[in-house]
Symmetry: D2
Subunit: 392 residues, 4 copies
């Protein structure tokens, strides 16, 4: 059996509800027939509701979050344009790299991995940009590598204060559908999301939202693009078509996933993610280990990165958990490689399954000689869960 029956605790792809998997596993239809529109348009509408937008243009690509990033930059920027990106984890790091490969000048704000994005520093750079060279601010809403959430509203605030008209591009891959994302309120210009996180689906869809302003910026953007060209998408969508062969099953799954989330209620979905995350953090505290995120206000509700003691290679935890217990945790990446391990707690998860992950992490750490007491984290999380369950 290649696949264990245990849940995964990686920060995505997540555990998937069976009915969403069944919606993705769809027999072939003619994607040029009217049936397709009945899948495409409700999926796009569903995404809009989940990101709290009335006006975003939603584009759905066969691809991953990385494809979504490339869609975002190639459709809004040109070689030689300048952008601001804060490097506070692996995913912001990679987005910087992508921009540079496309000839974009990146003003990198270096940050400690564990810190959120500093809106102030962005504001300062924008204030200093007298000749409007900076075309966009790129921000990773949730740094999956460190479990750090940044305040997109505050970034927008800083941009407003600086009276700068740069675009605001946001990576919401590991935040959207798991915690609050307010596309309209924050005046996000381009959002990048993926199917395999909060939407509880298989990987394979890049989900991108464009504001009206971003749609205009697209007109003058000169980076070469075809597959990711939203103009082709936009034109095709108007007649319920797709510019090439659409991943129909995954789109159908996205439609169903959105309905599932909206039926649970976004507030309930966000509260569930908060509750499960808080239980995990309570357990970590009981273990006496520091959380990688540097302050509670930037704790992520989708992923917790946990620092292991100095001199201990945290990658052992991931390998040992996989081999001995068939449980997958997330490794440390980049600056925190070997220094943290990560417990993903997003997508389809329950308090009960979270406890199995916490219990496994404890066994693994004791197996590897770390000074952790069996049952300590579990007991702390149990206490939290039983007192904070929606159903008392």
């Amino acid at each position: 059996m290649l696949v264990s029956q245990n849940p995964v605790f990686i920060p995505g792809p997540t555990n998937m509800p069976e009915h969403i998997r069944k919606a993705c596993d769809m027999a072939t239809i003619d994607h040029r027939s009217p049936i397709f529109g009945k899948i495409l348009q409700p999926a796009r509408e569903g995404v809009k509701k989940i990101i709290k937008s009335n006006n975003a243009e939603i584009f759905i690509f066969s691809g991953t979050g990385t494809a979504g990033w490339e869609t975002a930059i190639t459709n809004s920027l040109s070689a030689g344009d300048a952008v601001i990106i804060t490097r506070n984890g692996m995913f912001s790091h990679r987005w910087i790299d992508m921009c540079q490969r496309h000839g974009i000048i990146v003003h990198v704000i270096e940050a400690i991995w564990g810190d959120p994005i500093s809106a102030t520093k962005i504001g300062d750079l924008l204030e200093a940009d007298n000749d409007n060279k900076i075309k966009a601010v790129l921000a990773t809403h949730n740094e999956t590598a460190t479990g750090v959430k940044s305040d997109i509203g505050a970034i927008r605030g800083a941009m407003d204060s600086a009276k700068h008209d740069a675009l605001l591009l946001v990576d919401g891959v590991s935040s959207v559908a798991s915690f609050d994302f307010r596309f309209d309120e924050w005046r996000v210009d381009i959002l990048v999301a993926g199917s395999q996180k909060g939407f509880m689906m298989p990987p394979g869809l890049a989900i991108v939202g464009f504001s009206e302003k971003a749609m205009q910026a697209n007109e003058s953007a000169t980076l070469p693009r075809t597959y990711f060209d939203i103009r082709d998408m936009h034109k095709s969508y108007a007649s319920n078509m797709y510019p090439y062969t659409p991943p129909v099953g995954l789109m159908n799954g996205l439609h169903v996933a959105c309905n599932t989330l909206l039926e649970e209620g976004l507030d309930n979905v966000f509260a569930r993610h908060h509750r499960i995350a808080e239980g995990v953090r309570t357990a970590v505290k009981a273990w006496g280990l520091p959380i990688c995120a540097n302050s509670p206000d930037c704790y992520s509700n989708t992923i917790t990165a946990i620092r292991t003691p100095e001199g201990f290679d945290s990658t052992q935890i991931i390998n040992h958990a996989a081999q001995k217990y068939q449980v997958a945790f997330g490794i440390g990446l980049g600056d925190v490689a070997g220094k943290v391990f990560r417990i993903g707690h997003l997508g389809m998860l329950t308090d009960v399954l979270a406890l199995s992950g916490i219990a496994t992490a404890e066994m693994v750490m004791v197996d590897l000689g770390l000074d952790v007491t069996l049952g300590s984290g579990v007991a702390a999380a149990q206490d939290y869960y039983r007192n904070n369950s929606g159903l008392l």
Copy 2:
């Protein structure tokens, strides 16, 4: 979502591996074509290997374990025949009732619910049966209601000592494929099993094995039967056919399930069930609660019934766990209704998932005011699992 993503901890139907479910979910074939034989015969052969028999005739019915019981008695007994059954739980109780409804005279050996079957008492009754009125001894290998395993080999020993030629009919519904069953060595005459326990399948198949002696007894048995008549089955099987419409998908699943078990290795399957069960029992001990089974040598490796304190209605645990945590445990049945709750730990299960069940039971008991310490059972089980994992 009607179905929670949490594992179930009822004593069957069990959690199912996905590849077995997919094998059951089969497109329609012509069950009168040669394809059918390629499903039927390997399924029958697989069952023989799992019950360690060279010569058993295996019959597979669309039905449940209860259908298997009725197959067993109607094909070997006649109204007016006498049998011996020990009542030590709900399932032996029900089998007694079925015999009586069919006009069979049942010598009931009453036992405390929590005790195994006494081979001695059976031997005594057989010794006293001078005019050979007793046609069969019916024994429940594993009493699912109490979590009590009985010693079938010892019963056969007592029958041998008494030099009595009664048939030995065994209910192995909740033992076969989870712990050792030796059809040939114990000279079992009729075995009754089902798809939904150790075979990790959906309910819907009664799986019955007949010894050569039982096949002969069938010739003279006069209870009316058609659907359950193994003569029709036997004749049809010889030409790879079925006497009526076979449940092809489930049979295909049984074939795959047997292969899965045999590939893991029966010793490994049994060791896994023992290890998971022992972890649960270690947790129960840590909680300070008594196990319903009266001595360690009759502890079941598929199900543990746990006595709750005097004056506490154990059914609350099941209801509360279902409502607040979406986790299913087994209720107390019959003599122990309200006095025990049950944790099923058979079929597809892992140490990690077992810990989630133990953790849930703890939360529930604390919620309901029982004197149990959060994390106590989990820690005990973790310690056991990490020291006894196949992979150290």
Copy 3:
């Protein structure tokens, strides 16, 4: 690949819609929890609507149609009771056999295989039954072996005219949900159906309906029964429970299947079966072969048995179609073995798929030297379908 991608043309199990298969393929739930009632009761209600009954008690067993027959007779009759059965095909033949094995005296009305049941002959026997020895009339609504539909309303009429209070037991296995069945109007006392025909599901459910009168008859019926005892079912259903382990997934599938049929509309379902059947019959006529059913008013809309020329072994058609074209047709059974082959056209089927079956039958017959013109039956059926499609 064990399973061909071609549709099957056996008279059941039928081709299945994917969403019904997915509904059957269900993760394990606790069948003792309230969730179960939300599956059981809507499934029972759905069946009632499909058989047009307000008052029938619907019982659902893990088993097949044969199990349904045994449920019907053991719950309403006693050894020594007399019944009337017309033998006009294999399935009535087998029901006679079952009754006889249970000690029931069967007044067999012999009929030509191809004729429907004669209501007059039943009426005559009942009129002559002055001392009310006859307890029931058993009728097969649709003889799957010959493709002959009988008139249950006329049988009820004959019973009324004879002023006889025998029970009316009807085998509707291959009629219910495919053509009109009026439980209440015809005052049927016990109906037997199965999951694998008009319900477009896998085999594995016997679906039985009891009238109030049949429920009363059950009280005095003395045939031994446990698994099939509707008293246990009835009592359990009242508290949303099941007397043993229910086949939950199949029940869920039945619920979904009923909804699917009711959403299409029974009249539309029946019209679709009629249209597809009529197309097949038109093709048979074009081939110049006689239909086994002896007159158009008894033509079955679920199955057409086609007589092959004298001296030709019709079983060749089935074997050749399976081997060369991977298409399954139905063989001749019993009196018409070797003389007919059968095209099943019930359950999930479309005009388009029916044409593939007709085209295959033509190729097979030409391959085997029969005097049939390629395309002749197809053209006739095409003409019929295109002029009678619901959508013109």
Copy 4:
């Protein structure tokens, strides 16, 4: 029911075997664990066998064929480079457009839609390219819009004769795995394929093969790229990793699809496609309609485009078939929009299912007043199939 039970006859996505769909529908695994390598590498090896290559580097992207094209050009060419492309259908047309959007100079050889690529004309252009401005020849192996197969071996021959070292880039999206593709023998430099055609899978994978020479060209190619950058892929593959989140389920499906094709045997797979295609072409001839492809040697075995009479809008056929019969055919695209309709006959298909498509097309054409005789095409195809079946 959104999805009809009828097969589709579009030229991809194709009908899918159930076991391949089940392989794609996979529970979440940790794509950074060793399990991933056991899916990735066999999938890559399988593709190599199917394209008859020992040395190709296979890259698998989450994307479609269009993504594969962009991978091909951005990894081998730079803005300002010149290439040769023959425009003989919609897909070559689109590839031209993509190149132009990327600043590549395209020498377009205009061809009649219905003609194959002229190797001679390519050779002439290369001969004239004295200063080696032409960096690549791009060829569409099978024009899905017209049902025209081109001779890649002949193109390579012309390149050799011209002693030109341009790269040979081939779109094999609708040919690979359906008819013969010889990557090594033809010295193809970059091949583009997709999951949704001959591999009988859902859309969502771009499958790309690079020769050693193409790998070298990649080093100097300067078009900006990240998502499609094969250097990241190449580096990650070496350690069984993926540069971002891989579409694991689809990759698992690709592994299983390759095994399925290789077990059937490539020669058998190709012969099956030829046989089914030939049956369709025989039917078209019987209808008296011209095939769009201009000569038999360029007839495609995956798709047949059929010219409808002057003055008739062929799009009616597609719409009418979808609405009245729930069957999907392919519309005419580009230069042949309104002039042809297309029957796809690739991927999972059988003679029997092909007949249902032919029969449907006949009904549709007669419904729409075309001068076609019902049954005429079916009879011709039946005759062909029954005489050319693998199993006589």
